[in-house]
Symmetry: C2
Subunit: 348 residues, 2 copies
DNA sequence: ATGAAAGCGCTAACAT
DNA sequence: ATGTTAGCGCTTTCAT
């Protein structure tokens, strides 16, 4: 039986400690620790005695105690914004998977409002995470400072960090917008519209800016603009409704949507409700290349965010920052690619 | 400056401890602890001195140290299987959100093979999580025993636990299958097919069993069966291809698909590639009611898993188990509902 | 109300 | 190679 006693009725059942194992094995407690510490020197004899006792008692190392003394938890904090978007769902999945391969576990902080980041991030620091990945939220310089002071490296994922305090891995949304402008103009489209997603997000701003800037460079203007207000299907459907049903303007012949979900909403409205022929009468281009974009039912032309590259790069940058605490701030921009499918025509 | 020094170049920047705060505030270290312990008695004077020092130093409590002494981490381990299914993505999101509301954080363990559960779960126990939620994987009785011995409550989510050792919250998949059988027979369908998902999963088995049992009860048989092998769109599309293109059997007039993604694949194949009229010539019913099922492009008739209820119930059961460690094993079955949309006809 | 002291389970010197 | 010892930062008695 374990050496200590639990105090309250709420506490967990007894666990065994290295002291219990040591007693049973007839060695010192430090010897037990060495058996569980890679690189320590233990004789084969001791190791066997210890492992026998471990097995008999069902001993399991207490990672919390180890974390306390080593000042490192092997946990990465992942801050995500509440999502309905498959892109971000897939992202959590990939982050947890790749981090696990590297021997890290993921503590998820789910925030909905920007303000909640102010509470979640200090909490992550209290848990002494070894590093932080922040998605879909912008780090204030105050928070970045707090992380820096506690020595916790942070990587912002797909969001420009305004200050120079945190690492950043980001898809080149601006360039993606430019690509769409070129694609639509090359195909000879005349009336061009944009449907925005979440207005306050840097992703939306950059995609739109790249798009309109490039249109202007080539002597065209954005003819129509509508805002979905959020990055989801229903909002995209509704925005397309406002865009395509307004009687006082001629209908656009091309729409660039700030992401795939919006584009799919617009596509369904156009085809299913309005009977508009896509792409003959109307071209629609999205952004992200979520799995559904490639489904036969959609075949959406879109800008592919190189998903695996983004995730792998983010984790690489984080690992480097963890291993070289005093290295420079790194900012990586990943270029997306245009995927031609059937929702946009390529020849006028 | 902090009292201690860090040892290696890999360690984090200096943090302040309660000792540093105590010195600066001119009180004992225990007094500082009390300020951060709800319910402790501290004078207003002491509290103010302490908080001033805390602010000046930027002190932040070390939750790891607290966890060590309190033997409780406020962390819940969430074991998920690698998913492409929006249903499970949404699930993580909801679990993390609701757990946070209850003051718990979520450590995610992402497994792909059943065998990986044997590694991930002991790891979760080493982190001394306060509780575990296991989705899309069946707990072996050996693992259930390990959790029980360490006093860590476990709830299996949407998976029948074969043994009696772990709590369980599950959608009534069997009943869902029966509902589909009734719906299709009531509508007068004659040739009825089933497309299976992941064959080894209890969800698939129960949905299929309820479906075929009910067909038989009403004097019909399952005419055709095809297996997607997995719960995703592409596999569903391919399975529907095999089912609908096989020349030697007459085409079915109704298909029950083991989940929505498979149903959407089948629907797209039927409409887009084969030009089959749905539901006039073919009825398709899915399972889950993921958001996309309600999109205008699909309007899929399906069995709705009461998502919020499932998640809330799971967390409630877990919280009860944490607060009453010696209470009985609880098994909750939640009844789903049939959602009529446009992919199945309701009158023969 | 407060300080002193013990101890949570572990790692990492330091001896031998 | 192994035992002894000193913490890691905190909570929680126990005195006062």
């Amino acid at each position: 039986m374990p050496t200590k006693k639990r105090k309250t009725s709420l506490s967990k059942a007894s666990d065994f400690s290295q002291i219990d194992v040591a007693k049973l094995a007839g060695v010192s407690q430090a010897a037990v620790s060495r058996v569980f510490t890679p690189g320590s020197s233990v004789s084969e004899d001791t190791r066997e005695k210890v492992m026998a006792a471990v097995k008999q008692l069902g001993y399991r190392p207490n990672v919390i105690a180890r974390s306390l003394v080593q000042n490192s938890t092997n946990i990465i904090g992942l801050v995500v914004k509440r999502f309905t978007n498959p892109f971000y769902a897939h992202m959590i999945q990939e982050f947890t998977r790749v981090l696990q391969e590297q021997g890290y576990w993921t503590l998820v902080f789910n925030i909905s409002e920007k303000q909640e980041l102010e509470e979640a991030l200090p909490m992550a620091l209290q848990y002494r995470v070894d590093g932080l990945i922040i998605t879909s939220a912008t780090l204030s310089s105050k928070l970045a400072d707090e992380c820096a002071r506690s020595g916790t490296p942070v990587v912002s994922f797909n969001r420009y960090a305004t200050d120079g305090h945190s690492h950043m891995v980001c898809c080149d949304n601006f360039e993606g917008g430019r690509m769409v402008a070129d694609a639509l103009l090359d195909a000879g489209h005349k009336r061009i519209a944009f449907i925005a997603g979440e207005e306050s997000s840097s992703t939306n701003r950059d995609r739109e800016m790249g798009f309109t800037k490039r249109l202007e460079e080539r002597g065209h203007a954005l003819d129509l603009r509508e805002s979905a207000g959020d990055y989801d299907y229903e909002k995209g459907y509704a925005a397309a409704e406002r865009l395509l049903l307004s009687a006082d303007t001629p209908r656009p012949d091309a729409i660039f949507c700030a992401n795939d979900l919006i584009a799919m909403g617009a596509l369904d409205l156009a085809r299913c409700k309005l009977g508009i022929k896509v792409p003959a009468e109307l071209s629609i281009i999205g952004f992200d290349d979520i799995p559904a974009a490639g489904w036969p039912g959609y075949q959406l032309t879109t800008i592919r965010q190189p998903f695996g590259t983004l995730v792998d790069t983010t984790i690489q940058v984080l690992m480097d920052a963890i291993n070289e605490p005093d290295s420079d701030i790194i900012k990586k921009i990943i270029t997306p690619t245009l995927i031609w499918r059937d929702s946009a025509r390529s020849i006028g």
